[in-house]
């Protein structure tokens, strides 16, 4: 049994246990050392991921390929940067507890398992390992009613979706006779008619996955959880876990159910169109910037699903280009959200950014770049992300989806512009507190990537192409 293939996960799991011990034993506050150790563990796991050869392990439960490497690197990078943002925020809010980095670590481990899953069982295992720490994290500010509410809401809806997904998996197993992705792919792709039981199962599984990526109509939890949960936690939700969820839905739909593309395509097209429209229109009235980001993500989900719905190699490549670009824009925007703090208190209304262009020009410039990028204005990275999913959609003749996509991006430009307007056109509402070093670091890194992506797009495109090649074979 070639267990060494799963070294990144094993290393991460063992470091998680060790860090837990290291956090409990001393009689002083271990948050900072624990956070640093978790960051070190992410770095180590990242190195192992990059060194990982292709192959399968644990009797076909676990697969290592270019796709898994691509996504795992993104997840680890997103988790590390989000953790960096959380460090100062949690300290300022009195949430400084060493359990937080450990929870982040286990959630990230769950995502990595999910990304490498080659069997419905290991997929579910990874998903639950991801979800349980997330429920706890959403309610991490336990003395705050909104945070507890967010945790509970997330837990109840999350459990429901997990249940639906498990039911779908059992249906698929019952009618197809296997849970292994490769065998499922052979069975369903053989050209033989697909039984109704399998189709129903697939739909249930898609429901569960759509819940995780917050696609309409399974998006309801997102704005509430984003608003209620501590901002540092949302920074993790909105970045790393989205990458994991996208990876899971791409892996499952293009791998085992790739042969049944005719069966699930319409579902994804519908979810994509609905997400783009709802994300664009529902965000217009928001005053809370965290809710705004939630709806913004919902509309981005629509774009990601558009690439997936096309189902071609180019479409999947578009998804894989979209994901890192979104990750960077979102991390950057959340670094600003985390820095929104006046006189020691966290503020989260859009209007609290008023006059940021004067009080903190660098941060305002960064935020403006992220907002214009999310709106898809060239030459910022967000434009290329949208371009690479629009291109295959037009090529494959999904005109309705493409037209809805571009029109919805005009609508969403309205609310992204509102943030820019508040920062630059309105009179200052008083300066925000000074940025911490962590925020400045994340802001500068993601800002430079978003701004200058157009200069060097080739490496990312090449990596995405390799990853898709591994997926489609």
């Amino acid at each position: 049994m070639n267990w060494t293939l799963a070294l990144p996960e094993i290393v991460l799991a063992l470091s998680g246990l060790a860090i837990l011990v290291a956090g409990v034993l001393p009689r002083r506050d271990m948050t900072f050392p624990c956070t640093m150790m978790v960051l070190g563990a992410f770095l180590l796991a990242g190195a192992f991921v990059l060194a990982q050869p292709d192959g399968m392990a644990f009797a076909g439960q676990y697969i290592a390929d270019a796709f898994a490497r691509f996504m795992k690197v993104l997840v680890l990078a997103g988790a590390a940067l989000a953790l960096l943002l959380a460090l100062d925020w949690n300290r300022a809010e009195g949430l400084s507890r060493f359990e937080y980095p450990v929870l982040v670590l286990f959630a990230t481990l769950g995502m990595m398992v999910m990304i490498s899953a080659n069997d419905l069982m290991s997929l579910y295992l990874g998903l639950e390992l991801l979800s349980l720490p997330l429920y706890v994290m959403a309610a991490f500010h336990r003395d705050n009613a909104r945070s507890s509410e967010a945790g509970l809401k997330y837990f109840v809806l999350g459990a429901l979706s997990s249940g639906l997904m498990l039911y779908g998996m059992s249906l698929v197993y019952g009618f197809a006779g296997t849970t292994n992705f490769a065998q499922l792919g052979q069975t369903l792709g053989g050209g033989a008619p697909i039984s109704a039981g399998v189709v129903v199962g697939i739909v249930f599984i898609i429901t569960g996955l759509c819940f995780k990526v917050a696609a309409v109509p399974f998006h309801m939890w997102t704005p509430d959880v984003y608003e209620g949960a501590p901002t540092s936690v949302v920074a993790y939700f909105a970045t790393a876990t989205k990458v994991g969820a996208i990876a899971a839905i791409v892996r499952v739909l293009s791998g085992p159910f790739g042969g049944a593309v005719d069966q699930w395509q319409q579902v994804i097209v519908l979810a994509s169109i609905a997400s783009m429209i709802l994300g664009a229109f529902a965000a217009i009235g928001q005053t809370n910037i965290k809710r705004l980001m939630a709806y913004s993500w919902i509309s981005h989900t629509g774009f990601v699903l558009m690439g997936l719905a096309v189902g071609t190699e180019a479409g999947l490549r578009g998804v894989l280009i979209y994901t890192p670009i979104y990750l960077m824009m979102s991390l950057g925007a959340f670094s600003v959200l985390v820095a929104m703090r006046r006189n020691g208190r966290a503020v989260e209304n859009i209007q609290d950014l008023a006059g940021l262009g004067r009080t903190d020009p660098a941060m305002a410039l960064g935020m403006a770049i992220f907002m214009f990028a999310m709106a898809g204005i060239p030459p910022l990275s967000g434009f290329f992300a949208k371009l690479y999913v629009l291109l295959p959609a037009v090529e494959a003749g999904f005109w309705l989806m493409a037209v809805v996509a571009v029109l919805s991006s005009v609508v969403s430009a309205y609310y992204y512009l509102r943030v820019v307007k508040v920062m630059y056109f309105d009179h200052p509402a008083g300066a925000l507190d000074a940025r911490t070093a962590g925020v400045s670091f994340v802001l500068a890194g993601t800002g430079l990537f978003t701004m200058f992506f157009f200069l060097m797009p080739a490496p990312l495109l090449a990596a995405a192409r390799q990853a898709v090649a591994a997926l489609i074979g």
Binding site: R358, I377, P378, F383, E395, V410, A413, K421, F425
Partner: protein, 504 residues
């Protein structure tokens, strides 16, 4: 390598960004930063202009082809490259952009006191985007520059604009963005049909008629808003009224030309059949624009709004000229675009001169200015005359050629365009009379100072250009006649090929 021996177009395009970097590094007190920012921006734009003069002297006027072409691989998987080049249609617009930018910076020398550093950065970035857009020979590259213009312009209107600046900035941004995303889809459609985004290569590619129609409409959505054509022109008066003077100058001088340039660069050569098919619609819209907006201009109380509506009317002449598909019409359209760029820019500067002194743009608030500011009145008169296309000024040759071209197609259309000229004289003379002549009714006007040396410097090049273009238009027409002749010939060939197939 190209005729200049070095990548001149990229240099002209990206040199302003060097100025941005310098301005960003300036530290110190606000007054020092502001002064440094002004001088850096002025010198950067002047050097850029001097460099772009190489194009004027080295451009081969007898060749209809793209010149000074540069090409670099950019997105190799997708067949998109970084490709720059100019032909007769675009070369003068590059010069127009580089010439207007230093004048705009000079015009904002004293009127902008607030966040000067950011203002100058926005203008230099805007210059890069405008020049890049006229030079781009790759469709994707063109789109990127075309869209990126929105960001600095949104900020210029929104931060340094007048009372309703937020509304105007939003309207400008969303209108234009809505049009251009549809164009993006059309670009993608062409892209996967032809497998390339290189503009010269797409020229060789025949697009089926059914598809041409859709693509034409998508392009139309984008360019018609940008021109702007009636009835999607309503963003323009708002944007002009609220924008700072220099913003209006750039908007009228260069940004409005982007739409008409788009028609000439893309719609006509790539979609000849659809252009022919939709030409009657364009004629109608153009004539309505000319007559209707002239009448609206006649009723305006605000000077900037009046000039804004006159811009819509002039651009109506331009679109009319482009869709006549003959040599005179297209050359006239190009000349009108250039003349309008110079003249309307200058008119906005004239309004700016009064606004800086009195802080109002209402015509009724002025009167008798000619007695108080004689030099100013003379300058203002020259540009007013140029705007009504008095022979001997820049406005005349272009409009005359368009009417000649339109006559060949349909005399009624030519009549509509000519009506616009008459109405143009009405509203411009009314504006001039209201401001410059009459009795001095207000005491505070008597304190007004005549033009300052800085203002003389700003107007001098525009005056020279206006007279030069009016007296000897050939030195400008010679740039584009070869290219236009080839364009017309290819259009005729494509049309006759299509009708031959239709006969089969």
């Amino acid at each position: 390598m190209n005729a200049a021996g070095f990548p001149i177009l990229s240099l002209v395009t990206f040199l302003p960004l060097l100025g941005v970097l310098v301005i960003l590094t300036v530290r110190g007190e606000e007054a020092v930063v502001a002064s440094n920012a002004r001088w850096t921006a002025l010198w950067t734009s002047l050097v850029t202009f001097a460099l772009s003069l190489v194009l004027w002297f080295q451009f081969d006027r007898n060749s209809p082809d793209f010149q000074f072409v540069e090409r670099l691989e950019w997105l190799p998987d997708y067949g998109v490259s970084y490709m720059m080049g100019v032909d007769g249609v675009s070369v003068l617009f590059v010069l127009l952009s580089t010439a207007l930018t230093p004048l705009c910076i000079l015009a904002s020398w004293e009127s902008v006191q607030n966040r000067v550093r950011e203002y100058m950065i926005a203008f230099l970035v805007l210059e890069t985007m405008m020049v890049g857009m006229f030079c781009a020979l790759d469709f994707m590259l063109f789109y990127i520059f075309f869209e990126a213009v929105l960001i600095p312009m949104f900020l210029i209107i929104g931060v340094w604009g007048g009372a309703r600046r937020v509304y105007a900035a939003y309207k400008f941004f969303l209108y234009t963005f809505l049009g251009s995303v549809l164009m993006l889809l059309a670009i993608i459609a062409i892209w996967y049909q032809s497998g390339t985004t290189s503009i010269p290569e797409i020229y060789e590619f025949d697009i089926p008629f059914a598809m041409q129609v859709w693509i034409f409409l998508a392009f139309f959505a984008s360019f018609a808003v940008k021109v702007p054509m009636w009835p999607v022109h309503t963003w323009l008066p708002d944007a002009h009224v609220e924008a700072p003077t220099a913003g209006s100058v750039i908007l009228a001088g260069v940004l409005l030309k982007m739409g008409a340039y788009g028609f000439l660069r893309f719609s006509l050569p790539m979609l000849p059949d659809a252009s022919q098919y939709f030409a009657p619609m364009i004629y109608v819209l153009s004539v309505v624009a000319v007559v209707y907006t002239s009448l609206v201009a006649l009723a305006q109380q605000d000077m900037k709004k009046l000039i804004a509506y006159s811009s819509v009317a002039h651009m109506g002449i331009v679109t009319l000229g482009i869709f006549t598909f003959n040599q005179q019409g297209i050359e006239g359209a190009l000349f009108t675009m250039l003349a309008h760029g110079v003249v309307s820019g200058a008119l906005f500067l004239c309004v700016g001169v009064l606004y800086d002194r009195e802080h109002t743009r209402e015509i009724a608030r002025y009167g008798g200015v000619a007695k108080i500011m004689p030099a100013y009145a003379l300058v203002f008169m020259l540009f007013t005359m140029a705007s009504v296309a008095l022979p001997g000024t820049a406005g005349f040759p272009g409009e005359f050629l368009v009417i000649v071209g339109a006559w060949a197609v349909n005399p009624w259309v030519a009549l509509g365009a000519a009506t616009g000229m008459v109405l143009g004289a009405c509203y411009m003379l009314r504006l001039y009379r209201g401001v410059a002549f009459g009795r001095i009714t207000r005491e505070d006007l008597k304190r007004l100072l005549d033009l300052s040396p800085r203002e003389y410097t700003t107007f001098a090049p525009l005056i020279v250009l206006t007279l030069w273009m009016g007296v000897y238009p050939q030195s400008f027409l010679s740039f584009f006649s070869a290219t236009v002749a080839q364009m017309v010939a290819q259009h005729q060939a494509a049309i006759s090929a299509a009708s031959r197939f239709a006969g089969l």
